[in-house]
Symmetry: C2
Subunit: 337 residues, 2 copies
DNA sequence: TACAGGAATTGTAGCGCTACAAAATTCAGT
DNA sequence: ACTGAATTTTGTAGCGCTACAATTCCTGTA
């Protein structure tokens, strides 16, 4: 029977130092400032470290130096493939900059607050959040500790820094495209319930765009976030009830747009001739279903990359609080409009 | 202009102790062993801590106690919704047990090895991995440090502990279902390239099941993992080339099965009459498309929960190395078979 | 050969916390 | 009031590492 975890003799910097025949400080320097150590010495130290399987204890280093190379990211859900790209962007950036990224999932504001506490407990170098709606106490805590924080997917008024794009502008752009394609009775599918700001700000943008053209702007139908694809058929039915001649539809995600497409095929409706459908998010499914979905691509990887860069800049003394970076969006024109 | 992060006066246990008028040790006890301190004292300490926004420094605590309340999970990808459920299960279990979960994404073995190093550097209490194929050095390192490790989604021969189900058994069960439904010319879609063991072990199970019944067992088509939905049509075309009377199809994921369903609808084939289609993974899409997909549900949440429990048990002194837990699977019968 | 000046190396002290043991306080039962 | 035990509180030492200053080792030049 093998020994329990704690009973193994831990490999410390000290043991590496002894094996390499140098002082512990030299071992430390070898890892943190390799250029300060003579090449030959460095070789010996690295050899000893490899031999012993030595991994520097971040916890101790962090404590001694007051600095951390770890950035914490709170993600609301991993179901959504935009977040996947966002995380990829962050991973890429931390790798370039010599940092580490750790993730926590949080579906609710309470969970987010708990995740923030964990990260602060770990004394991470910075934190990235999604959205601009957070628990009051959590924000207070972040303020007090002064950790660099980037809010992603939002576009203005951060309590520290933000990176994202404007959902309102994106909505306008999508409506413009629908209008250009000849649609005149455009419907809007939104999320009901207490959904986040970045979804809610689309509604007024939708209304304003249509009113400006003198078109009907009340074809709005709210669905339940949990319904997935199933929300598509429901929304289509609801909206057709309001205006049977509905000819364009703006969906909050590609998933719902796909659901609408399934329903159109069931009804024998041609897309985009009978109904033009706009997605949002550029999920994988958008380019795979028939007809291929015209959608909005939010540059999620860029967002992730910039979120990390902003934190690292701040740690290095640059980067002002209040900094907002607009990573924009792109409309991917395919077959559904 | 606000001060830089490092310049803020940090709130330490000491400052809480002063404010509450007790010794630092009492503050420590209040957080770690609340029952050891008098209720009234506890109240004072908690009040002071809240007032100052004190969050215990995990790094220091970890260093002093040699113990950690953080478990690290390495996830290969978050695109796949089974992993989502797996993570949910883990989150739930850590919350129950008073631990924390942090995630790292790793698509390749190299990235996995790096993630393991990070976790060991953080001196986490345990690590969960996916699959049983890891970089040799990483395994060596895990062995040396003795961290409790659970390999998930696999069923046997762990180097420490494992939790999962047998892909071979699952394949057999699915084939049995197809046969029962009257299929006699069954095709198999697999992943080409260097794909992990848990996918590869399905092939011999497929062949054996069919040979045992004296049926054709060479209708195997390999697709590229990156093709997503698009792999479905390709596989269907390839397999029909081998046997135009193909009447059943076993897909490696629901995504591919969905792609096949799209293609069937394009061809005007009835499912399951013309072709019965089996998915794998019970993704969201499985219950949303028409016809609804019969698929294999791997009890991912259970897997996550058990992975965490096994680690915590080990830390607490129970739980043998070599422990394997079979969380089984379920076939979700819907309309495609 | 001596020595300034840079390169490389090494003690010292302490980061914030906790294990442990010792000390102080409270309490019950005479 | 007094004692022994139980409860609560508190020093002490040290976890593994790094900042910083001090020391030692080199090299080239006078």
């Amino acid at each position: 029977m093998s020994k329990a975890y704690e009973e193994k003799t831990p490999v410390t910097m000290q043991s590496v130092a002894v094996m390499a025949g140098v002082s512990p400080m030299t071992v430390s320097n070898t890892f943190r400032y390799p250029e300060r150590v003579h090449a030959e010495t460095r070789r010996k130290v690295l050899l000893a470290a490899a031999e012993l399987g030595y991994i520097p204890n971040h916890a101790a280093g962090n404590l001694a130096s007051g600095q951390s190379r770890v950035i914490g990211a709170v993600i609301p859900s991993i179901k959504n493939s935009s977040f996947y790209k966002y995380v990829r962007g962050m991973q890429e950036a931390v790798a370039d900059l010599g940092y580490e990224l750790i993730l926590k999932l949080a579906d609710t504001q309470q969970q987010e607050a708990a995740a923030i506490q964990t990260f602060i407990g770990l004394r991470v170098a910075g934190i990235t959040l999604v959205g601009d709606e957070h628990e009051k106490d959590a924000v207070e805590l972040l303020r007090k500790t002064g950790v660099p924080v980037v809010e992603s997917w939002v576009h203005h008024a951060p309590f520290d820094m933000a990176v994202g794009y404007s959902s309102a502008e994106a909505t306008q752009a999508m409506i413009a495209l629908l209008l250009e394609a000849g649609c005149r009775r455009i419907g809007f599918v939104g999320y009901g319930g207490s959904v986040s700001h970045r979804f809610r700000e689309r509604v007024p943008a939708f209304e304003a765009s249509l009113k400006a053209r003198g078109l009907r702007s009340d074809l709005i139908y709210l669905v339940d976030e949990a319904d997935g694809f199933g929300a598509g058929p429901k929304a289509l039915e609801g909206l057709c009830g309001m205006d049977p001649a509905l000819d364009g539809l703006l969906c909050p995600t590609d998933i719902i747009a796909a659901g609408v497409l399934f329903e159109c095929s069931r009804r024998g409706w041609k897309v985009p001739e009978r109904l033009a459908v706009a997605g949002w998010g550029d999920y994988e499914i958008a380019s795979e279903i028939t007809p291929r979905l015209t959608t909005l691509q939010p540059n999620a990887e860029d967002m992730g990359r910039h979120a990390i860069r902003m934190i690292v800049e701040r740690v290095r003394g640059a980067g002002e609080p209040g900094h907002v970076r607009n990573t924009g969006f792109q409309i991917v024109r395919r077959d559904s409009i």
